[in-house]
């Protein structure tokens, strides 16, 4: 083992645009090429998204492909130098590595962290035989919904849980929220998926398991609160009573009504809500503790009495109140806060428990459970056994996007990493604390900020910075350098913490991309009705026009928003603008946003849905309306709209649709889902709407997925659709360029880059918004809270006065940092141009939002204030250049020209066992056996009579015959076979061939059911299930002919109709009815 002084672990701090994928790929190649041969199997690279995984794999293969062909670039040169290889060796090694990777592809270990964990857990559960194959569930919300539905369905009268739910419902009712508990509960309960909750879940379960835990806790808390209230209320009430008996009011005392006396005593005498208690004023702790300060000059005659009463009655009571307040207020307030959320606590604990049960019953693991699961399995072990099968052969680890790693994930990786490092194998990690914006998904930036150094050991850690920004043009880099340096300082000041400057210590970047670029920030004021937001919105089209006039295609522009609904509004506005007179003729305003990518954003899809809904329920007028409207839109855009919506009359409504639809309506209803959609597409000719084919395609993919995984019927599908239509998985994915402005949220934009970026509403809150404040899980060492363990409390200022002040402050710092990071991600997406609009400091929206910070930062930075225009309240740097290159048509793409759908059923030749089987059966089939079919099946299989019984057993095994039918059939068959003509066919001594193929020259073949051969004697027998027919006879004669050609001189032919048990004998082209079925019995007679 090598001594620890070697810096085997590299941490790259990679600010925005600093080329981390290349860094990762290079490191991978370096290790793999250094050791050659199979060594690449020892490297594991983990990324956070599938996209990143794919990108890295592709890059490595592409590099290797090029290098193996002898091509070279800067990366190749660096590698050669660092590996000490000459051109030839390098080329050869690359070629070798490429071959190995391609043919041992399973060992090419680049995956997402989730996928890696799944692999580990699967192998663990399999090998240890603990459980069968568990089902992995990705959609935790759907599971939660189900759990909550069950929970509500199972509520029983007079239960603690029922009480909580009712309390929850009433609380919502009084707070003017929707009162339907189901949906709010789901929202609310998603809390249990947060890592914060998971971290304490087990402890929580332990605590709450105790019987009467909640009743007990509630009593305790009330006791604390009431004791305090009583303690202050008694003396305060006394004082007020004395006033009353003496008919005094504040006017009788010094400072009169401004003295604060009334407020003080009333608060303590009657106040019920501790959180609305005000702090005790200085005067109550100072002046009023001296009797001489009590009397008012206005009532000299009362001075003496007041002096005396103050001394003996008032002052001791004030002291008592103050004293109790100082000692117990925080505790009582803490109790009150905890009480408020107690039902939340109870509910969550119960839901978490139910969820656990649900998972257990269904043998299911949520994707998000995996990190914690592994964590638990690993425990404190340095060499965890779970990794024995999967992890043990890795030596090097590459971890991407480290700032988004959660504590669980990191702890799972740590033993692996440490093992490798201990044995001297280098590993590396890439991350940027400034881009940590996924805390709500468990990302923990403190890992990168400090934990990692502690866990790995500073001694063997080499921290490097990727210096240059290869994404943004110079001016944007300059702007962000100055901006975030200033912002970090501001954040630090406001939160009284040094965390932000520490996180942003590496924010300064050198320019690695082009020179130039521009940044424009404007602070908008409000005028009358016009809010800053509406004027910002109005400026968006202007900006788009300005950019387009400089030759910049829409596809190069992105609008970043904080929340989805903002994007929705912008999209709606641009649509309206496009249709208005203001729109410039040579400009476009097309948009792609999450919304427009919803599958039901397309007319054809809605038509399809309308038709499906109508077929399911013809009385559904809304379905009729949708169908009618979309049909008109597609095929008769000029139709009068009142007519289009005249759907109340079914006959009229249907007369407006293609005749084919009404004609086929009944048969459509009988189609399975997928065929149904295809047929509707065909009938309504939807396949020719070129711009919407992507939507149809995505819609049909959902149908395909649904029927192969769930069910194949219309009602189930439509029900599913209603629930899922607005979810992300049901939106189309863009697989390439679209000439439209992209609107997306900042979170979605992470990791992406755009030539020009507009941030129209740069004003999100720096702190939690009041109504969206999260629950914090807190503990306290003070009684009675300490014995309760973790308690959930709503984040809010009031916590500052409770025992939970510390966690509150921590959360406050974190949320500030989150929002600052969000700003960093937003401002670093642009390559060439960045346009920002924010509310002016004079508006309300500016306060407490990032806009305020932005403004301050510009003023406080020397670099930035230089180009600040105070007259227009605008900042600008650089200028917008005309686009250099023409947007080129992307090579290597193909379009669907139309959407082929055809009716395949007529074309497909299939085996029709079913058709024959059910033939001739009436629908009332109880107790009836289809003898014909079964007889045929047996006869064509047996060689001799002895085979009858075993063959029947086989038919049963194949499910064609039911056991109870077997004896009946056996009797039948024996009877048939005891007939001399038939019996002869099954005698010994023949060379028997069943279903014999005879090859005929020229590609045809014949198959004879039963052929008996003896020297030059041949008997041809065909069994038929249907009615007698001429063709059958012809066929047998043909067989006979063929056999003659083959040299058989004596040829007989027979037809046996199994259903009617009739035998036809064919001799030399003549037929003879050998026997006819006797109506009264099954036996055969001549």
């Amino acid at each position: 083992m090598k001594p620890g002084i070697l810096k085997t672990f590299t941490l790259y701090r990679s600010s925005a645009g600093s080329g981390k994928t290349r860094t990762l790929a290079k490191e991978y190649l370096k290790w793999a090429l250094q050791h050659r041969a199979q060594y690449f199997r020892h490297i594991l690279a983990v990324t956070f998204t599938n996209k990143a995984t794919q990108e890295m794999k592709d890059r490595i293969l592409a590099y290797l492909g090029a290098f193996a062909r002898g091509e070279s670039d800067s990366l190749a040169e660096e590698l050669k130098k660092e590996l000490g290889m000459d051109n030839q060796a390098f080329q050869q090694n690359c070629a070798e590595l490429l071959t190995l990777i391609l043919h041992q592809y399973d060992q090419f270990s680049i995956s997402t962290i989730d996928a890696f964990f799944q692999r580990v857990i699967r192998s663990f559960t399999r090998e240890s035989g603990l459980i069968g194959d568990y089902r992995l569930e990705v959609e935790q919300d759907a599971v939660l919904e189900e759990v909550i539905n069950n929970l509500i369905d199972e509520l029983v009268d007079k239960q603690e849980l029922t009480q909580w739910v009712v309390e929850f419902a009433k609380e919502n009712l009084e707070n003017d929220k929707a009162w339907d508990v189901r949906s709010i509960l789901v929202d609310f309960a998603s809390e249990i998926f947060r890592d914060e909750f998971k971290a304490i879940e087990d402890e929580l379960m332990e605590h709450t398991k105790q019987p009467d835990f909640f009743r007990h806790l509630r009593d305790e808390l009330w006791k604390v609160k009431n004791a305090f209230l009583k303690g202050v209320s008694v003396p305060a009430t006394d004082v007020l009573k004395i006033w009353e008996t003496n008919q005094w009011d504040p006017g009788h005392f010094k400072w009169g009504s401004t003295s604060g006396l009334t407020k003080y005593f009333e608060q303590f005498a009657n106040g019920k809500m501790l959180k609305s208690f005000e702090l005790i004023k200085d005067r109550m702790r100072g002046d009023f503790l001296h009797a001489k300060n009590w009397p008012s000059k206005n009532y000299p005659q009362k001075t003496a009495t007041i002096l005396q009463v103050a001394e003996t009655e008032f002052i001791p009571r004030i002291k008592a109140i103050n004293d109790l307040y100082d000692r117990e207020y925080a505790r009582a307030l803490t109790a009150e806060i905890a009480l408020q959320n107690l039902y939340v606590f109870g509910l969550l604990a119960d839901i978490a428990r139910k969820l656990q049960d649900y998972k257990r019953e269904n043998n299911l693991m949520l994707l998000a459970d995996a990190p914690k699961f592994l964590n638990k399995i690993i425990g404190d072990s340095d060499t965890p056994f779970v990794y024995e099968k999967v992890g043990s052969f890795y030596r090097h680890y590459l971890i991407d996007e480290f700032q988004d790693t959660s504590g669980f994930q990191w702890n799972n990786f740590l033993p692996l990493l440490t093992n490798g490092l201990d044995e001297g194998y280098p590993s590396m990690v890439v991350g940027d604390v400034k881009q940590a914006i996924y805390r709500w998904r468990g990302g923990d930036l403190s890992l990168l900020e400090k934990t990692i150094e502690h866990d790995i050991g500073a001694g063997r850690m080499d921290i490097r910075k990727l210096e240059s920004n290869f994404r943004s043009a110079e001016k944007i880099v300059v702007f962000n350098n100055a901006m975030f340096t200033a912002l970090a300082a501001i954040a630090s000041e406001e939160t009284e913490s040094a965390i932000a400057p520490s996180v942003y210590r590496d924010v300064m970047q050198a320019t690695g991309a082009e020179a130039g670029g521009f940044v424009h920030v404007s602070f908008l004021e409000e005028e009358g009705e016009e809010t800053w937001k509406s004027s910002a919105q109005k400026k968006i089209p202007k900006h788009l026009e300005m950019l387009q006039q400089r030759g910049i295609p829409l596809a190069d522009i992105a609008i970043l928003v904080r929340r989805n609904d903002e994007g929705q509004k912008i999209a709606a506005m641009l649509l309206e603008y496009r249709n208005s007179e203001q729109a410039l003729p040579d400009c476009r305003y097309d948009v792609v946003s999450n919304e427009s990518l919803r599958i039901d954003g397309a007319s054809t899809v809605n038509l399809l849905l309308g038709a499906m809904r109508y077929l399911l329920n013809p009385d559904d007028a809304t379905a009729r309306a949708q169908l009618s409207y979309e049909y008109a839109r597609l095929h008769e855009p000029t139709r009068n709209e009142a007519d289009v919506f005249a759907v109340a009359n079914q006959v009229f409504f249907e007369s407006q649709l293609p005749e084919k639809f009404t004609r086929e309506k009944i048969s459509l209803k009988k189609l399975p889902l997928f065929e149904l959609t295809e047929t509707i597409i065909d009938i309504f000719d939807l396949g020719r709407q070129k711009g919407e084919l992507v939507y149809l395609q995505a819609f049909q993919d959902l149908v395909l997925e649904f029927y192969s995984r769930e069910r194949n019927d219309l009602a189930s599908y439509l029900e599913w659709w209603e629930l899922n239509k607005s979810k992300e998985k049901t939106s189309i994915k863009l697989s390439g360029e679209v000439n439209a402005v992209k609107i997306l949220t900042i979170h979605k934009a992470k990791g992406l880059e755009f030539k020009y970026v507009i941030i129209p509403f740069c004003s999100w809150n720096i702190d939690h918004e009041k109504f969206l404040a999260p629950n914090l899980w807190v503990t306290s060492n003070e009684q009675p809270f300490s014995s309760a363990g973790y308690l959930p409390v709503k984040y809010g200022k009031v916590l500052g006065r409770t025992y939970f002040a510390v966690p509150f402050q921590e959360e406050r710092i974190r949320v500030h940092l989150d929002n600052l990071n969000l700003l960093y991600v937003a401002l670093t997406r642009a390559e060439r141009g960045l346009i920002i609009m924010a509310p002016h400091p004079d508006t309300r929206s500016n306060v407490k939002s990032v806009a305020g910070w932005l403004y301050k930062a510009i003023q406080s930075s020397d670099t930035l204030s230089e180009t600040w225009n105070s007259a227009t309240q605008e900042f600008s740097l650089g200028e917008i250049l005309h686009a250099k290159e023409k947007a080129s048509q992307r090579a290597g793409t193909v379009e669907l020209l139309a959407y082929e759908t055809s009716r395949w059923r007529d074309k497909l030749v299939i085996r029709q066992a079913g058709n024959i089987f059910f033939q001739g059966m009436s629908s009332d089939t109880r107790g009836r056996i289809n003898y014909g079919i079964h007889l045929h099946a047996v006869l064509s299989r047996i060689k001799t009579r002895d085979d009858v019984a075993p063959t029947l057993v086989r038919l049963v095994q194949e499910g064609l015959v039911v056991e109870t039918e077997r004896p009946v059939l056996e009797v039948e068959l024996n009877e048939l076979l005891s007939n001399p003509v038939v019996a002869r066919w099954f005698e010994l001594g023949w060379d028997v061939r069943n279903e014999v193929p005879i090859l005929l020259p020229g590609n045809t073949a014949s198959r004879i059911d039963r052929l008996l051969l003896k020297e030059n004697h041949a008997i041809v027998i065909d069994f038929k299930t249907g009615e007698k027919s001429k063709t059958d006879q012809k066929q047998v004669m043909e067989y006979m002919d063929i056999l003659k050609q083959m040299g058989f001189t004596e040829v007989e032919g027979y037809l046996l109709y199994t259903r009617d048990k009739e035998v036809l004998s064919l001799h030399d082209g003549k037929k003879r009815v050998v026997k006819k079925k006797n109506e009264s019995q099954l036996g055969l007679d001549f």
Binding site: T112, S735, E900, G914
Partner: protein, 953 residues
Amino acid sequence: MKSFLQNLAEETLKKHPSLDGLTIVFPNRRAVLYFRKHLSSLLTQPAFAPRINTIEEFVSGLSALHVPDRLELIHRLYTSYNAVMNTRQDGEETMSESFDQFYFWGDMLLRDFDEIDKYMVDARMLFRDLSNQKELDAGFDFLTDEQKEFLLSFWGNFNVDLNANKRKFLRVWRLLADVYDTYREQLGQNGLAYEGMLYREVAEGLRDKPASTDPGQIIFAGYNALTGAEEKIITHFVSAEKAEVHWDLDAYYVNNTAQEAGRFFRSYQRHEILKKTFVGDTPSNFSGKKNVQLFGSAQHVGQAKLMSQVLEEQLGKGFDPEDTLIVLPDEKLLLPVLHGVSGHVDKLNVTMGFPLASTPIFNLVEFLVELQLHQRTGLFNHRQVLALLSHPYVVSADPSHANRYRKEILEKNQVSIHAEILQAGPPLYSAVFRALEGEGLLEYLREVIHAIGSLQYLTDLDKEYTFHALTLVNRLEEVMGSTPAKDAKNWRESLKSFSRLFRQLGRSQKIPFTGEPLKGLQIMGVLETRNLDYKNVFVLSLNEGALPASGNKASYVPYNIRKAYSLPTAEHQDAMYAYLFYRVLQRAENVFLFYNTETDILGQGEMSRFVQQILLESGWKIQRKVLHSPVQPRPITPITIEKSEQVLQDLTKLNEGNKNFKGISPSALNTYIDCPLQFYLKHVAKIREPKEVEENLDARLFGNLLHNVMEKFYRRIQEKKKSPIIQSTDFEHYKETVSQLIDEAFILHYGIEAGRKLIYEGQRLVVREVIRSFVERIVEHDKAYTPFTIEGLERGELLYYAKIENAPGQAVLSGKIDRLDRKGDVVRVLDYKTGRGDLDFASLESLFDGSGPRNRAVFQTLIYALLYRANHNTAGVRLAPGLISRLNLFDEALDHRLILNKIPVDDAEPLLEEFEGRLKSLLEEMFDPNTPFKQTQNLEACKFCLFQNICYR
């Protein structure tokens, strides 16, 4: 280029001119048919075909044993397994699992046994090693107590006593060898075997009885990865000079040791005996000139549609469908591909299965089981009944009937439905809606399936599906027998267990589409392509997990032991797929490859490694393209309804109202202000929401219940004392009264028959409590307000006539006033609001302005005030319209008064004049022939609108 089978036919005929007596053995059935075709094209005279077998047929022909279906095999394994577990006297007791629980394990175990035998592995030794290894590393000793606890809580399906659990677990491993022996013995006694067992028996017995089973001269053709038993059998005949072997291979992958596709050939080339079967030069067709194109597309349907487009284009350029093959590694693509094969092709042949689980009949069976599962004492739940009534086959039986029943259930809000009522329908219904009592499920299913199969209008394909479902049900009955359940709970459990098993079986059961094989365009799965060559080849789903299929089949035998005993591993399987892929391309001239560009949620399913390989190694010039269609949904256009004659007529009719309601309602007016188009669609065009069985208690229902309870509360008092005057003494025991009234309201809503008990559970319980707190609050406030006089409860007969200029000259308004009461000179016009009911409004004007937020509730109560005033003498009366809603209800003192610009409205009279004026112009506009109905600009109004999907809002 001559295909492999063509070459083979020529050679065969050359060497064996008399075909009779020759046996040719292929890996699968497709080759048989093609080979026969090639042979006959070489003939000049009719002749008996040589015996052409698949390897399975050939090998079973050498044995007396018979292989039953998988279900039976697993069930027999279940029996043997239980027998071993129960009879071994090792001091352990066993909990027996139900068959459906066992099925998964049994399937896996059977697969392992099969492989062990096919690869001729010493089973005893293997199981001993396996058991030892498990003792060593899978005992739970490596788990700390804490970890065990955790695992227990997470999955909990092992014993609480972990030690016992461990023993049980290890015991299973220890007894596997016994299970193996017992199982084989049991099968053998019944003349049965699983495939591996049969192969092994044949392979091991060859030396002893070669003469009796002499099959004559044999040709083995087209093999790649042989199992141990196959290898032994073939070697046996080859070394006896009874057989020749023909390999279908290519130098490209055989001679390059890096290519996994050639792995098995390379090893046979070194095989002592088989090596002599490699004669002549290794063919080299693969590297030849080919036209190769690679297409990427997101997801599945895109691939299929793109494929049709390319196919269409190529057919147009002269491709012959019969020279063309479409390979589908993922069966899911079958339907999309079938739909995409268009006009130029008039015949198709599909050689692959369609999973039974994806058919409508399977779906029906699931519904049937659920129907019975939720059935209580002859009552069915409406969900399943409705689902069944709209199932395609049930609809087929009698469309109008199905619809009538559906309507009835909806109209009557029938949460549960009597079996007899439904059985009275068409004949099929009596089978479908038979309420079972604790037994006879399979009977029942069979009966229904039979009835479906004999429906007149069922298509052939549906009959085929139905037929297969029937065989499955028959098999199940045969194998498992029907055991009547002991009690209701047991019965439900057994239903659930049945449906789990049925689902597992349905997924693995494939309905073969095999038809007339040699005609038309060929579509097949990957395995089916063996030995076949086509000029034009399309391969879809070239993604990891489809091709190569995912390697990790569940198995009891872990990797290291597999390796040690030369059992196949994932690499083995990859090599097999590699061969299949390279082979199907080797003689093709035009190759079109398609893959899904999107990976799954875990990032799996990327483009196949085989594609990566040929891209970087083959030296072919491959054209790469990605499907990228423009995203240009049809622009959203505004909807405007011009007031044509017809529209105006319909509009005028609103004045007449309907049987429940006269005139135009305040809520319709509200709708008009919010969005004229919505008003038009809903009230004029009468496009209403479809009916549903209301089981969940939504906001509307909540409102109904509340109104109902409040109305009754005061009616009772009035009836009792025969006076409308309410005093505080009337409120004695009001809590009980409220409880009772709530019960009554629920009973009414669900149409619960007299004598049956109303049970509160689930959401009803929550709703009851919420309503209770609502009502009690109102009542308490009222009590404080006593004495007062009730003037009206739910009064709906009041009308208001507004004169307007436009035709028809007047508008008739009406409304149902929740409550009118009077105290002194104050008449309150009250409305109960369960939703949001804010009292504030900025101005009368604001009530008529639909462009932003406005107070609908206030508007409505003011209309009520108008209605009151129009029908009563209001001299000397202060008319105080107001709301009782969740906003003021929980205040200490209830103030119902509307608040105009921060000032409470004590008397509406002064407001009403302006209000009437504005109302008039509103109505004027509504009836104005020149003002069309337009969409609102206020997106908030769209949020709860029924027509969102029409307006794209």
